[in-house]
């Protein structure tokens, strides 16, 4: 890290590729999108240039409902990096979307002790920089 002393530690952020740019552009607009194969209609995550199921090469972007359930999670007491060290304790979860795919996110705006496997969650968006907005999730029954 070459950031000057006293500057806040930067968060590790994605650098979109041509292929993933639509995912990150959608997040910036407050939408969660996933890929759907035009041939076999199956969903996949993360984005790829082909369908993992049928090798189809035409993939559409589908706006997901933003609803899912916690497949599993942990609460980190140590930060994975200097930026996250400022946020401990924080929850990291594997979320299974209604559309059937899984992704990783923090469970935000929720009490850590209320987080449990199987609980319904809803997508929210966290602006992490001018360019990057991260899809995140909160417990569906948490007070907004």
């Amino acid at each position: 890290m070459s950031s000057p002393m006293n500057a806040p530690a930067p968060r590790p952020l994605p650098a979109p590729t041509d292929l993933t740019a639509p995912y990150w552009a959608a997040a910036r607009r407050g939408q969660l999108v996933i890929q759907r194969c035009a041939h076999c209609q199956r969903h996949q995550f993360y984005p790829r240039s082909f369908c993992m199921h049928c090798m189809g090469e035409t993939l559409d972007w589908l706006q997901a409902s933003g609803l899912g359930r916690i497949y599993t999670f942990t609460v980190n007491r140590r930060g994975a990096n200097a930026f996250m060290a400022g946020r401990t304790p924080y929850a990291v979860a594997i979320v299974e979307l209604e559309e059937g795919v899984r992704l990783m996110a923090n469970i935000v705006d929720s009490r850590l002790e209320d987080i449990a496997i199987g609980k319904p969650v809803k997508v929210v968006f966290e602006a992490a920089s001018d360019d990057i907005t991260l899809p995140q999730f909160r417990l569906a029954d948490a007070a907004p």
């Binding site: 993992m52 599993t72 980190n76």
Partner: protein, 386 residues
């Protein structure tokens, strides 16, 4: 691997490098030290080595080592799939030897992650354009700790496994370490001590997590024919199998508690023509306490979901009726970046009846299981002596 290759090669020399905290050495120097010790153990010369299987935390490990040792091998493999890599190298060496590409294989590893301070809880940060950089790193996952914490949470949720049961694995490891003069941590450790150690990633506490030490090791493989004439009792490779699925984004792994361990266990035992009941020595990679419980289940030593109850009551320790990880394991003996090498060396020590106070009374066959990365890769190997 083809059953016909069962027993076709043997480990004929084996040695650890200096262990624990070794601030004055590089990983390469540790590999060379262990390699020379293993060759001396086997009664072989450097010039006999024509296959090099080496990985470190650096790149081009095989070439570095060949240059340093001053040898010109005809076969090199630096495959790195995480902790199990040196066991994967055994399978690759068997295939290379069977294909006539080499005849004396040196397998080695070295790490100075403790002294160099290179171990980071966030893991290696892949490029920001990689799948990890885009879909994992922004979320602050501890790596690999977070993944195993998530698996432990799932195990507890599905089966009712408790933190006390996880702690049993750490306590048993410490008791074995107290019998091992080379162990890094030997002070007494109780279930209560584990439960009062700080949470790192719920539900895993610091004592559920392996050590960070320097360490290295090496072993020599050659044909069963040649092994007969060497000075040490040959430790035959009877069975070996590998399975792979992902890097750091296991989004497509349907069940995080069914990760490929079972597949490798069945295949390795099948190749060896043995059953679980024929196994005397069990060495299971203990990077995290939950990993041992999961592997015991997936390998079929107990039923799915019963691993927590299975390890309770000190069962895995020196006084238990299912003694495993007799070195003290990654939890208490030593854990460099990748523990696979030390797992194999302990199995060899047991099978050659040289494990001192921790020697098991019956040690004719051994099962070694290890994963790589975050249950991304798996291997099971069966070893035996005549």
């Amino acid at each position: 691997m083809n059953k016909e290759l069962s027993g076709s090669v043997a480990i004929v020399g084996a040695a650890e490098s200096d262990l624990g905290k070794v601030p004055g050495m590089t990983a390469l120097e540790m590999q060379a030290q262990a390699s020379l010790r293993a060759l001396n153990d086997a009664g072989l010369r450097l010039q006999d080595v024509d296959g090099v299987f080496a990985h470190t935390d650096d790149r081009f490990a095989g070439l570095q080592l060949a240059e340093y040792l001053g040898i010109r091998p005809s076969y090199i493999d630096s495959t790195n799939v995480g902790g199990m890599s040196n066991i994967l190298h055994v399978g690759h060496a068997m295939a290379a030897i069977a294909a006539g590409m080499c005849s004396v294989a040196l397998v080695t590893y070295g790490s100075t992650q403790l002294s160099s301070g290179t171990r980071k809880v966030g893991g290696a940060f892949d490029g920001a354009r990689s799948p990890v950089g885009q879909f994992i790193s922004p979320y602050g996952q501890l790596n690999p700790i977070g993944y195993y914490a998530m698996a432990a949470n799932l195990h507890m949720h599905r089966y009712g496994t408790t933190s006390e049961q996880l702690a049993e694995v750490a306590v048993a490891a410490r008791k074995w370490a107290q019998l091992n003069p080379k162990a890094y941590r030997t002070e007494p450790l109780s279930i209560e001590d584990v439960l009062s150690s700080p949470l790192v990633a719920d539900p895993l506490r610091s004592r559920d997590i392996c050590l960070v030490t320097d360490a290295g090791g090496a072993f020599i493989l050659t044909t069963a024919d040649r092994a007969k004439d060497l000075r040490r009792p040959p430790v035959y490779v009877l069975g070996i199998a590998e399975a792979f699925s992902h890097h750091y984004t296991p989004f497509s792994t349907a069940d995080w508690l069914d990760t490929g361990v079972a597949r490798t266990g069945e295949a390795a035992l099948g190749m060896a023509g043995l059953t679980r009941n024929d196994i005397d020595v069990v060495q299971i990679y203990d990077h995290f306490t939950i990993g041992v419980i999961q592997a015991l289940e997936e390998l079929g030593f107990c039923k799915r979901g019963e691993g927590g109850a299975f390890v309770a009551g000190g069962r895995l320790g020196p006084d238990g009726d299912f003694p495993i990880n007799t070195s003290g394991g990654g939890l208490s003996f030593n854990h460099p970046g990748m523990f696979g090498m030390l797992l194999v060396l302990e199995a060899v020590h047991q099978l050659r009846q040289e494990a001192g106070r921790r020697q098991l009374p019956k040690a004719r066959t051994a099962l070694v299981h290890a994963p790589g990365m975050v249950f991304s890769a798996n291997t099971t190997m069966i070893l035996g002596v005549q």
